[in-house]
Amino acid sequence: MDGIQLSRVTRTYTLGSEALNALNNVDLNIANGDFVAITGPSGSGKSTLANIIGGLDKPTSGTVTVNGQDLSHLKDAELSGFRNKTIGFVFQSFNLKGDSTALENVMLPLIFAGISPKERKARARECLDRVGMSDRMGHLPNQLSGGQRQRVAIARALANKPSLILADEPTGNLDSAKGAEVMQMLLDLNRDGITLLVITHDHDVAKHANRMIEVRDGLVHEAVAF
């Protein structure tokens, strides 16, 4: 079965003696190729939702299925493989390796995938080309502007040809012009068939989505599109 299915997903954190439900019995279906914006106030559980879908976190109860794969039963190695092959992560603060060039940063997930040096170089070039960074491949992150860094991060997310991109406030650290550029790039990817999940506070970002989910107190609500 394609797409993302969450069934009665609960994620409980224990803070001292107090149990806190970051997600409470969540049911959610996302179709392949969808562009979903996840909104909600800080601490509402939207990051937890994204982490569980991205295989970084496991639900306390309930099942998560991505492209027919039940994540709740995967072991570390399998889950790592899942993140590597199926998900592309884009972070607010880019999270590029400071000691590595743009090209090397993009090659990192390919290294974890065990792809040969020759092929990973070719694929990394291809991805950088796709985000318009082919002329900056040898630059270190601190030699790049914020927008350029986020483009490198997107190229990195694309390296293993994922079916889903999880972007956590991808434009949060960018001015509006650069933010719009990055958003356009993500939209292009979505148009090419990649499912896009964007966590955002930004209504300008959310308005591009064809579906908006609001997380509040551990519950998801289908929000009205702008």
Partner: protein, 513 residues
């Protein structure tokens, strides 16, 4: 993920915190250098000992003494003396004379390939070594049977061999030094010297007269004056050719001459007149220390105030005992050296010889004792180096913990990008192992350079010592062991931090500021 990828990721992060990495590596370098240098010296000395034991055949030697409490003496030169005491005086130990008959019995034992008797001068005959117009006092002369069982340690030249029946002689290093050959012992080989006898010498090289010159009366406490019927006979020079220089630098540094037993006996088994008919002279006319002037004798015997003063007429010819009788009458050989056919038979042969009631010590045991000593020194020195390494390993652990903390977010990112726990663990373990490896590599290199630089100095210092000939090169096994050891220490020190890194919750790690 491939190993080169792990390595590249690990080395990259080492490079990133260059100063911290270098300081941590430096701590390992100190320990590795120390271990390399110290163990190289211990190993070199040990190898030298073994090599010399094997080369000279000492490893197959069994030294036989009259008494049990004997110190092993590779040259046999102390011959029957232990710690300055003749062994047959040593307390309650039972003694058995080492006679030629006993030697034959030992030679007949199974696994014995050769036996040699060693005989040390008891009565004086040679007083000085003479070379180039100068004289040096002779203290000890040893004769041994060059059967191949005794192998004196040599600085130059060769052993005595069975064919040496002439004037061949081994001299101790101390003689070569005073003769002006210090440090160039090879050049003394073939040099002719004279062995200057005492007055009254009647051994080889002297035609025995029928009429003796007047006796010499010794002054009180006069050295090198022995009196006796032949004391008026003139001293003579016995020519000798140096064939080897003894390495007597192992603590037994008294001047020493060694001769083939036959040559030795020719000199020391001196003839005595059967009977002497003296003319006598009044003692008051004799000046002490000088021959009495000839005159009319008026008495007999040498009692009272008078003594026989030559010339005396030898009646009944001269008597020289056979070699066997001479040795037996002198109390036997000082020691035997027996040689076993194989190292594995040394103990058996020693035990068989002991049944004759004599003491035995083996080169093998001496070698093992020396090796054990060297091992203890090596353990102590190596232990010090190991302590340095253990302290350094705390540094590695600290560095790795810091590294994990500093890179927590990076670990989270790598996990998000698909790195397994195992991958993270390996990256950090390899990083720590690399610190150990480079520390070891640099340490071994520095140690080798140190050994190389120190070698001439030490060789110079050791020139007069038993370290001459030691190679002082870092053995390959030591290099590999040190590098493997420091790598292992790096690995172990990095294990816990690496596990901690691997077990980080990716969500928490990504949130880490």
């Amino acid at each position: 993920m491939r190993f080169p990828d792990y390595l590249s990721l690990s080395l990259r992060s080492l490079r990133r915190s260059r100063v911290r990495s270098l300081l941590t590596i430096f701590a390992i370098v100190i320990g590795a250098t120390g271990i390399t240098v110290m163990l190289t010296f211990v190993t070199s000395v040990k190898n030298l000992t073994v090599a010399s034991f094997v080369k000279t055949g000492q490893i197959r030697q069994i030294q036989v003494s009259q008494s049990t409490d004997m110190r092993y003496d590779p040259t046999g030169a102390s011959g029957g003396y232990s710690n300055g005491l003749k062994s047959n005086n040593a307390g309650s130990a039972t003694t058995t004379p080492l006679t030629p008959a006993l030697e034959a019995k030992i030679a007949a034992l199974p696994h014995v390939t050769a036996v040699a008797g060693m005989f040390r001068s008891r009565m004086p005959a040679i007083s000085n070594v003479n070379y180039n117009g100068k004289d040096w006092v002779v203290q000890a002369v040893v004769g041994y049977q060059p059967t191949g069982a005794i192998h004196p340690l040599l600085l130059a030249g060769r052993d005595l061999i069975a064919a040496d029946t002439g004037d061949q002689i081994l001299i101790s290093k101390s003689y070569a030094d005073v003769m002006g050959f210090a440090g160039k012992y090879d050049t003394i080989i073939g040099t002719k010297i004279n062995l200057h006898t005492n007055q009254g010498y009647t051994g080889a090289g002297v035609s025995l007269p029928t009429q003796l010159p007047p006796m010499i009366r010794c002054k009180q406490n006069q050295q090198n004056c022995f009196g006796g019927p032949t004391s008026g006979m003139p001293a003579t020079n016995i020519p000798a050719t140096i064939v080897g220089v003894l390495d007597n630098s192992d603590g037994n540094d008294q001047p020493l001459l060694m001769l083939p037993l036959n040559s030795f006996l020719a000199i020391y088994n001196q003839a005595q007149p059967m009977r002497v008919n003296y003319s006598f002279q009044q003692q008051q006319n004799c000046k002490p220390g000088t021959p009495c002037p000839p005159g009319n004798g008026n008495g007999g015997g040498d009692g009272g105030n008078q003594m026989p003063s030559g010339p005396g007429v030898v009646e009944g010819g001269w008597n020289r005992p056979t070699a066997t009788a001479f040795i037996t009458n002198s109390g036997g050989f000082d020691s035997f050296m027996a040689q076993a056919d194989d190292i594995s038979n040394v103990a058996e042969v020693a035990s068989a010889i002991s049944k004759f009631g004599v003491g035995t010590t083996t080169g093998l045991k001496a070698l093992n004792d020396q090796k054990a000593q060297a091992n203890i020194i090596g353990l102590v020195l190596g232990g010090l180096g190991l302590i340095a390494l253990l302290i350094a390993s705390l540094g590695v652990m600290n560095t790795m913990i810091m590294s994990v903390l500093q890179r927590t977010r990076e670990i989270g990112v790598m996990r998000a990008l698909g790195a397994r726990r195992r991958t993270i663990r390996r990256i950090f373990t390899i990083e720590a192992t690399a610190i150990g490896f480079f520390g070891g590599l640099i340490g071994v290199s520095l140690g080798s350079i140190f050994v190389l630089v120190a070698k001439p100095v030490i060789t110079k210092m050791a020139k007069s010592g038993s370290l001459t000939g030691a190679t002082f090169t870092v053995p390959p096994w030591l290099m590999l062991t040190v590098i493997a050891g420091t790598s292992a220490i790096g690995f172990l020190s990095g294990f816990l931090p690496a596990r901690r890194a691997a077990n980080l919750d990716p969500v928490e790690a990504l949130r880490y500021e």
